[in-house]
């Protein structure tokens, strides 16, 4: 008799399901709407955040090109992020490989150390790095910015590469070596092709970690190095400047395109046999 009360688990209906749907809908709007507001705001004709805008123009996009603060900040951010991605990917990939090969009891501790820049409040890292970099003359220097961002970016590479190393059979490398390949050759033609998705994902994470970094950068900026997020932060703090909306729109569209490309690349990636 009680069997009649059993619900079909594949059936989505009833008041509870409706409530869940409504909450999810609110969640989706809550995530999306604030960001979508930025797009019409970037085409406003006046220097205010009134919504809806009273007039429309492209002046804030023109401002990005004509006001060299914005273009130079974008250039600085891109350059630093590319260097950070290269350095962090090298350090992080080696570290992840190393971690997977040692069997000492300290592996857990080392793993914790590698991940700690990701978990620790960024402001602590910012203050600490600022303190030391003042003495090293690394404040207001692109090099200092690269070093600090690399600290923050490396954990993402370690995590991504470690994930792709799970279940990796080291016998393949021994086989390569037994056939006479030098260690570097073994890495390039055996290990790297297998962990390539993890390395690429790690490099992308590292790039974004640097390109998007703001808290540590605020301590390290100066006249000779000013990144895009810092430029946005100071503009927002000082005045209502819709140029920030135009920059934000460009960043969002770029993010969406990159996300789409990543999804498409994953789909076209040939599936390996397990």
């Amino acid at each position: 008799m009680s069997a009649t009360r059993v619900r079909d688990p594949e059936r989505n209906s009833g008041a509870v399901w409706r409530v869940l749907q409504v909450i999810s809908g609110i969640g989706a709007l809550w995530l999306l709407v604030p960001m979508l507001i930025v797009i019409p705001m970037s085409f406003t004709g006046s220097r205010s955040y009134r919504f809806p805008p009273e007039s429309w123009s492209f002046r804030w996009y023109e401002n990005i090109v004509t006001d060299d603060r914005w273009l130079s900040a974008l250039g600085t951010s891109l350059l630093i992020a590319v260097i950070v991605a290269v350095v962090a990917t090298t350090l992080g990939t080696a570290a992840a490989l190393g971690l997977s090969r040692i069997r000492i009891r300290g592996a857990q501790v080392l793993n914790g150390l590698f991940l700690s820049p990701m978990i620790l409040p960024v402001v602590i890292i910012g203050v600490a790095v600022y303190l030391v970099f003042l003495n090293f003359r690394l404040v207001n220097s692109p090099g200092g910015m690269v070093l600090a961002h690399t600290v923050l970016a490396t954990p993402y590479v370690v995590v991504a590469v470690a994930a792709s190393l799970r279940g990796f059979d080291t016998t393949l490398e021994r086989a390569g070596a037994s056939l006479g390949a030098a260690p570097l050759r073994v890495f390039l033609s055996v290990t790297l092709p297998i962990i390539r998705p993890g390395v690429l994902a790690g490099a992308l994470f590292a790039f974004i970690a640097s390109f998007d970094e703001l808290v540590v950068s605020i301590f390290l900026v100066g006249p000779s190095v000013r990144t895009l997020p810092v430029q946005m932060f100071t503009s927002v703090a000082q005045e209502s400047d819709p140029t920030v909306a135009a920059v934000s729109t460009i960043l969002m569209v770029s993010t969406a395109i990159i996300l789409l490309l990543v999804v498409l690349a994953q789909r076209s990636e040939p599936r390996r046999a397990p």
Binding site: S2, A3, R7, P9, I23, S24, G27, A28, W30, V33, P34, M35, I37, V38, R50, F51, P52, T90, L91, A94, A95, G98, L99, R101, I102, L113, F114, L115, I119, P121, V122, V123, I124, I125, V127, A128, L131, V132, F133, L147, T150, T154, V158, T170, T171, E173, R174, A177, S178, A182, T191, L214, V215, F219, A237, V244, L251, M252, T255, L259
Partner: protein
């Protein structure tokens, strides 16, 4: 067969691969942190000089304003964590139960938010909360408002929760989608009402996902700086802002260092608590980088 290879030295063996990253982190991460901690015990303003090595810590806890901000930061992080759980749980659950197409849409919304620049998201809320912005335009259309929400703690909580929501949603979705629906069905076939089946079977199975996401959100919220700086005001500043003020504006390295140590210890305590609770259980993915190797 494997023993055959034993004689051959593994080409990429050994800890030397760890050396570059370890050296780098030692110089540019561990050393700065050690210097900051040292400063907190050695550098004092005139008022704390001669009190002993813990002068900065005594100053911190003797100052009501500091303790108020510490408590406010804790409360804010807690509220943000609860809000994100309340929204993320239904969202992730719905994701596991809808068609593949809708699942893609819901996931795409989360991922797009997750990957969009933090500064852009903070700025978006700043625009929305303007006195003549969208929020007040909407309120006016239903005959309410205007409200001055910018600069208040609710504005900070709304912004922080939205920014941290993906950190809750992604681990939670991973956790919920691995739950075997057959177990809930089995409970119901044994006579449990749907609510009981949910509370006694589904909810406990989803607990590790909630705990992992909750810990991540809470710990990240404790250290938030940009959102309270953009959406809040000095009257309701959070802990990170206090540290930045001490260091950047007042150059009080000792005090700033002591505060950083306090925040650090609170964060470590939360992680440690989580570690104890989830002891002997497999660690959730955000905190785990190594799988078991044979």
């Amino acid at each position: 067969m494997a023993t055959r290879y034993r004689g051959i030295e593994h080409p990429l063996r050994g800890g030397w691969l760890l050396v570059p990253a370890l050296a780098f982190l030692a110089v540019f991460f561990v050393y700065p942190l050690a210097m900051l901690i040292t400063r907190s015990f050695t550098e004092f303003r005139e008022t704390e000089a001669g009190v002993g090595p813990f002068g900065n810590y005594l100053w911190f806890f003797a100052n009501d304003a500091n303790v108020t901000i510490l408590v406010r930061t804790f409360t804010t992080a807690l509220i943000v964590t609860v809000v994100t759980v309340l929204v993320a749980y239904p969202y992730a659950y719905v994701m596991t139960r809808v068609s593949a197409r809708w699942r893609m849409v819901l996931l795409a919304i989360v991922l797009l938010t997750f990957w969009t620049s933090l500064m852009v998201r903070n700025y978006a809320w700043l625009i929305l909360f303007q006195r003549n912005g969208l929020l007040n335009a909407l309120l006016a259309s239903v005959g309410l408002g205007p409200v001055e929400i910018l600069g208040t703690l609710p504005a900070v909580v709304i912004g922080m929760s939205q920014i941290l929501l993906p950190f809750m949603l992604l681990p939670l979705y991973a956790s919920l989608s691995s739950i075997d629906r057959g177990l809930v069905l089995a409970a119901q076939s044994l006579g449990a009402r749907p609510s009981v089946a949910f509370l006694r079977v589904y909810l406990p199975l989803s607990a590790p996902g909630v705990a992992a996401g909750g810990l991540l959100v809470f710990v990240l919220a404790l250290g938030f700086y940009i959102t309270p700086a953009v959406l809040g005001s000095p009257q309701n500043s959070l802990f990170s802002q206090l540290i930045v003020t001490q260091v950047s504006d007042l150059l009080a390295w000792g005090r700033g260092g002591a505060m950083a140590v306090v925040l650090f210890l609170v964060t470590v305590a939360m992680l440690g608590l989580f570690w104890l609770i989830s002891n002997r259980r497999e660690l959730p993915s955000p905190l785990r980088a190594r799988g078991g190797r044979s």
